[in-house]
Subunit: 306 residues, 2 copies
């Protein structure tokens, strides 16, 4: 009996000797076409910043969270984008290892840019969703998933990272997450002033600010900006503000951008997480044996040419 | 009895009504002078980059890890700095949400800048330290400290974040950590090629790469650099490389820079961690009730003027 176990172990070890162990990139490259799911262009915000001094264009693509998460704010964001409200506003605040923020940025209400009609005031209760058991059960367990510093449980569903405690579920603040800037609680913000995370995941903001999406392309145009020297990292020198040429919903573009995400319920995604948590390719000496939810970037790609 | 409980609850609630609950910043501001500990200038690396196009100087201050951690590489780094080896080298690699890397950056050994004599080849076993029970016991427990996705235990000692499993202890990769770039395992690097983390903590690198220090001032000069478009984020356009004017040990400067860190064994540091893990000032609606080790930045300041 013992001998068979050994033989089986050797047989299992053979491929590892014959070829390099998988990497996250190799798992993603090997995913089947049907494991990729389309992102609806109507769920994208395309933000065009003024070009760099060199003339290089700067486009930032944001994917909005799907229902039932943060839909009050996301409805407002759709209204603001359709009204072309952000056109002519600026990126006005950048704090290292924290956020880059944009919008009107005017504290004085008398001078602030008027908002379009029809924006909802969203209550704090909508930072979380009463979790439906089906959704929780659908999130695959993964190494380290039970050891999160901020929540009882973390996992993935419909292409997004979530955390949960008892009966509520919420989207997490990770690198490149987009959230709604606001004043002190219980203000929840309208969605007109937005930020993207450009540092270590500020998970203490979870359930305290509305996460509404994530930057899926062009985060570097926000992360390389000079850090603000004014109060709370606001640019005290107005010349540093980066003009926003336009923000459009993806389906408003004449030639919509097509993206796909790796289905978080697929076998390849489960393998991608397992490999990320247990690196043993030739760069690594020791496998971590776990991973935190924000270190698992859901693979997203432009739709490959046919 | 019930009435007394209510009265006690009201009495306890009074200060919260009368004043704003503490914030991490208020706890640090209230720390006693004797809770701050000096950082020896001999443990600093002062890296001066070429000024920005605007003429603005760019100085990056790195604090080296104390013994017994990573001392083989740190010895090499002292030798390299004393030989002024980095002068005239460059920052040559920048990857978004990953690292900024500097040194010679020449893969072709025939063209590489010759290294000074006396550098040690450090074994992989020195990525960790056999943990001495005293050191582990000295690390204060904190909320969330038992729930780390990468290690059985995380904590702080002598001003630094650490993780541990059974009988080993290692320094963690957090935002602004500085590590030794290397080739595939078992190569461990000399210390001549270094990187700083500019994104979410890449904790999977723990125990796989030597952490040698952290940027304590000027990380923004590394985090705002344009991301490299060449292989692995190396600048394919040599004009993007940022010249390193000089790297000096802090005690080599005519006028050494003086810094202090908040003693991680102090009451104020314990309170700082508790407050960071349980924010309830007026911006917050829900306290996280925990925090990950890389979200607890050890407070460091320039020595205040007398």
């Amino acid at each position: 009996m013992r001998r068979w176990v050994w033989l089986a172990a050797i047989a299992l070890a053979m491929p590892a000797i014959a070829q390099e162990p998988p990497t996250p990139a190799s798992v993603v490259a090997a995913a089947k076409a049907e494991e990729w799911k389309a992102i609806d262009p109507a769920d994208l915000l395309i933000m065009e910043l003024a070009p760099e001094a060199s003339g290089q264009p700067r486009m930032v693509v944001i994917q909005l969270l799907p229902p039932p998460f943060s839909q009050g704010w996301i409805g407002n964001i759709r209204t603001l984008a359709t009204a072309h409200w952000w056109d002519g506003t600026t990126v006005y605040r950048v704090v290292d290892n924290w956020v880059t923020q944009w919008g009107d940025g005017e504290d004085d209400k008398a001078k602030a840019k008027p908002l379009p009609e029809g924006l909802r005031v969203v209550p704090e209760s909508e930072y979380v969703v009463r979790s439906d058991v089906t959704l929780l059960a659908a999130m695959p367990a993964y190494d380290g998933g039970g050891r999160d510093s901020y929540a009882s449980y973390t996992g993935f569903d419909v292409g997004w990272p979530f955390a949960s405690d008892s009966d509520v579920l919420w989207p997490t603040h990770c690198y490149a997450s987009v959230g709604v800037a606001r004043d002190l609680s219980p203000d929840t913000g309208t969605g007109a002033e937005l930020y993207a995370v450009i540092g270590h995941a500020p998970r203490q903001l979870d359930r305290n600010i509305a996460v509404v999406g994530r930057v899926i392309e062009g985060i570097e145009h926000l992360s390389v900006l000079p850090r603000g020297k004014g109060e709370a990292g606001v640019y005290d020198d107005p010349k540093l503000r980066v003009p926003i040429v336009s923000v459009r919903l993806g389906n408003e573009l004449p030639d919509p951008l097509l993206f796909q995400y790796l289905n978080t319920e697929s076998a390849s995604f489960a393998e991608y997480v397992r490999v990320k948590a247990n690196r043993n390719d030739s760069f690594y000496k020791v496998s971590a044996g776990g991973i935190d939810v924000c270190n698992v970037q859901v693979p997203i790609r432009r739709v490959p040419a046919k």
